[in-house]
Structure formats: C-alpha cells, structure tokens
C-alpha cells in the first residue's frame, strides 16, 4: 500500500543543539529559516523538542560540559534520525582542535551522517547538507546506532601519521623556532 518511508523526506523536523560553537553557524541556521532561504519549503520545522525531531543539527566542537547533554538528546530522539554536523568545528574540531576542553568533533560521540564544512557555513551549504541528509534519512532503518565511544582509532592508514599527531608535531616545531 503506502510506502510511508517516502514521507520522511518531506517532513523533516529539526532539532538544533549548540555543543560549544561560536554562534557563527547557529545564526546561519537561523538565517536559513528566514524568508530568503525559508527552510519551511521543505517541510522543515525547528521543533526544539527532541522527541519530535528527525534531524539533529549540531554545531560546535563538543565541549566537556555539553557532551552528556548531546548524547542525551541523541538518545531521546526517536528513530529514524539523521545527525548533521554543521560547520568545520563540529566536523573535526576546526580551529578549536586540540584545545583542552573540547573533543574535536561531534562524531567522537554520536554517529554523524552528514558533515557540512565551512567556517561559518552559509545557509546555502546548510540547505545542501540537509538535502543530502534527507536522502540518507529515507534509507535509514529504525535500528538505533550506538553512540560511539570517545576517540575511535584515528592513527595511521597507509603509513601516514594521523593529523592529530602531526598537528602536535607542528606545534613542537613552532616552539623550537622561538
């Protein structure tokens, strides 16, 4: 009869959480709700209520204090759901990478489906990302993805040292220069 799955794509409700961003990306999310970009065209509503949301927009590199809340919100959202990391700093930590109170990106904690880069992203990119997120949402099963434990193995592949380590290495070089 009906294929209910196709409706997922047409009525994605979003939940937005700021896990320590600079607000730059948050105001762009707000701007994409504004008349010029009007996310409501796609049926998107900013619900602010995890229990009724399908898309989880996370900004910010995840600070120590916000991580519990992040996971809590993720778990409260009913399946199927898609997590979208908005902005460079929620993808990889961005400029905050390696600071002592941040965790270098949302995917250290919860499985992220779409990464939107840019610092700050623009509404245009957010729409691109959401469109991609909707494709994924349509295919998703209802089984829960486990929130991943901190720090997946990020070390070498193909004999290349990890970015994290080389970043540290660069830092050392800088010190030597002085």
């Amino acid at each position: 009869m009906f294929n209910l799955k196709k409706y997922r794509k047409r009525s994605p409700w979003i939940l937005h959480y700021n896990a320590g961003s600079c607000n730059g990306c948050d105001i762009e999310i707000l701007a994409s709700l504004s008349p010029k970009y009007d996310l409501e065209r796609f049926g998107i509503i900013n619900t602010g209520n995890p229990k009724q949301s399908d898309i989880f927009l996370v900004t910010g590199p995840v600070t120590y204090r916000s991580r519990e809340r992040l996971i809590e919100l993720y778990i409260q959202m009913p399946e199927p759901k898609v997590v979208v990391a908005v902005g460079s700093c929620s993808c990889t930590g961005g400029v905050f990478r390696g600071m002592y109170n941040v965790e270098d990106g949302v995917d250290r904690y919860i499985p992220v489906d779409v990464y939107i880069s840019g610092c700050a992203t623009s509404p245009e990119l957010i729409i691109d990302g959401l469109v991609k997120g909707l494709e994924i949402l349509e295919k998703k099963t209802k089984s829960m993805e486990k929130p991943s434990k901190l720090f997946k193995d990020t070390t070498s592949r193909e004999g290349i040292v990890s970015r994290r380590e080389s970043a540290l290495r660069v830092g050392e070089e800088r010190d030597e220069e002085n």
Binding site: R10, S11, P35, D38, T47, Q52, P78
Partner: protein, 274 residues
C-alpha cells in the same frame, strides 16, 4: 449518508485547512512556505516514526482527546444538541490537560495549567453562545439552528467574542500562550512522540473543523454566507496572528473574560428584550 462521509473525512478537511493556513501565513511573512499537503506528509512521517511511550495513561489520554474531539465534530455535522457538543468538547480538553499532568516534564505541567486557564477563559463564551442560539431558535439542536435564517446580526457581539475563542483554540497570537513554543516548547505536546504525537497533531486539525463549523452556525441556512464567513474569518485570524505578539496567560484571561463576558451579556440581554 453524506453526513457520515463528511464525518469520516473531517480530519482530512481540517488538515487541508491547516496546510492552507501555513501557506497563507508564510506568504504573509514574505516567504514561500511549505507545500499545501505538508500536514499529510507530516502525518505519514509521524506514523513511521518510532514512538516512545512515557506512560500508558499519557498516550491513551492523548488518543482519547483526539477521539472525543472527533465525536464532537461528528455531533455538529449530524446536527445534535449544541450543549452536548460544548460539554463534550470540554471533556476532550480535559483529557488533554490530564495528559499534560500525567508526565513529569515541567513544561508539560505549565502547558496543562495554561490550557486549563484558557478553558476557563473561553468556556463561558461558548455557553453564552449556546444560550444565544437557544433564545433565537428556541432549541439547542444544531439541525434546527441550521434550518433557520442567518443569525449573525442578532448575535453580532457574541460573534465578536467568538472570534477570540477561535484565536485561543487555534493557538494564534495574541492568544497563543497555551502553546508558546518559545517558552514551554509546545506545552502539553512536549512529551508525545511518533504515532501518539500524530493523534495530537490530527486533533489540531479537528480543532480547525470544530471552530469553523461552530462559526458556520452563525450563517444558519445560508451556505454562501457560511462560506463567506469562513473565508473572512480565516484571513482575519491570520492577519491578526501576523500583526501581534503573544500576550501572557493572565492578560489573556483578563482580556478574554472581560471583553467576552461584556459582549456576551450585552448580546443576551439585548436578545431577551427584543
């Protein structure tokens, strides 16, 4: 037979009104807005969504709210007694309020509280409305009211008061403190999810059917006038929604009770003397 069909498709009509309203609202805000059938897309999605049950009462009360509301709408369409309609409607609101109180979330409580207060604010107007109709038609039966000529002129003040009820029921500013997305995240709705939220969502559509059906009673047997009233009020309500901010619940009660009671009384007194 026709009536039975109308009763069954009542939620769909409500959904269409709601969808249309969202488009109109968006256009008033200078943006494109969602597609017309958006509420049905939402419905499809919500059915598909995993539902988290907080506690059985909560979910059941939500469904009861929807079912009683449907019965209310059916009663109006079938031309039953107006008083029954109003009391049944009260019952459905009470289910919602109970649902709000049955969970731990503080926002749900506040929402339920506000819902309760708004019931106090608009219920007298509805009852006076029924009395008004009784005074004119000599009967509470909706079928009788529908067979008589338009009564909007005799009940003009009550009609004005009823406009405020529409704003409250449809959660339109300035009288939308019960939902207040920015303060209490939707109030009573907050803990519902998936299919259960779906019932609440459809109840909202029925609410549209309910108020606009009541509105059409003012037009009596004149269908064209009824339709005209619906269109006129529909736009008026949305324009006001887009021109005002939300007022606080205590202001709401004050304003609605004051204006509503004076207008209602005025009208009733006038009616009984004429």
């Amino acid at each position: 037979m026709l009536e039975a069909v109308v009763v069954i498709i009542a939620p769909i009509i409500g959904g269409l009104i709601y969808g249309f309203e969202r488009v109109v609202c968006a256009r008033m805000q200078n943006r494109q807005g969602p597609p017309l059938l958006q509420p049905f897309y939402d419905m499809g999605k919500l059915i598909d969504k995993q539902a988290l049950i907080i506690n059985p009462y909560h979910s059941i009360l939500g469904i009861m709210h929807f079912v009683t509301l449907w019965v209310v709408v059916a009663f109006i369409i079938l031309g039953q007694n107006l008083l029954y309609v109003i009391f049944l409607h009260l019952l459905s609101s009470i289910f919602l309020i109970l649902a709000g109180f049955s969970v731990k979330s503080i926002f749900s409580h506040i929402g339920a509280n506000r819902e309760l207060m708004s019931v106090i604010a608009y219920e007298p107007i509805l009852i006076m409305l029924a009395v008004g109709f009784y005074l004119i038609n000599g009967s509470f039966d909706i079928s009788v009211i529908r067979d008589n000529p338009p009564q909007i002129l005799q009940l003009f003040f009550l009609f004005l008061a009823f406009l405020m009820v529409i704003q409250i029921k449809l959660k339109k500013s300035p009288f939308d403190a019960t939902e207040a997305h920015q303060e209490i995240v939707g109030g009573v709705e907050i803990e519902f999810s998936g299919v259960f939220f779906e019932f609440l969502y459809m109840a909202k559509w029925l609410e549209y059917v309910f108020v606009y059906l009541l509105l059409s009673l003012f037009a009596g047997d004149n269908l064209a006038l009824g339709f005209g009233l619906f269109i006129g009020v529909f736009f008026l309500v949305n324009l006001v929604d887009n021109a005002t901010a939300r007022i606080k619940i205590n202001h709401l009660i004050k304003i609605v009770l004051m204006i509503g009671l004076t207008f209602g009384m005025l009208n009733l007194v006038g009616l009984s003397y004429v």
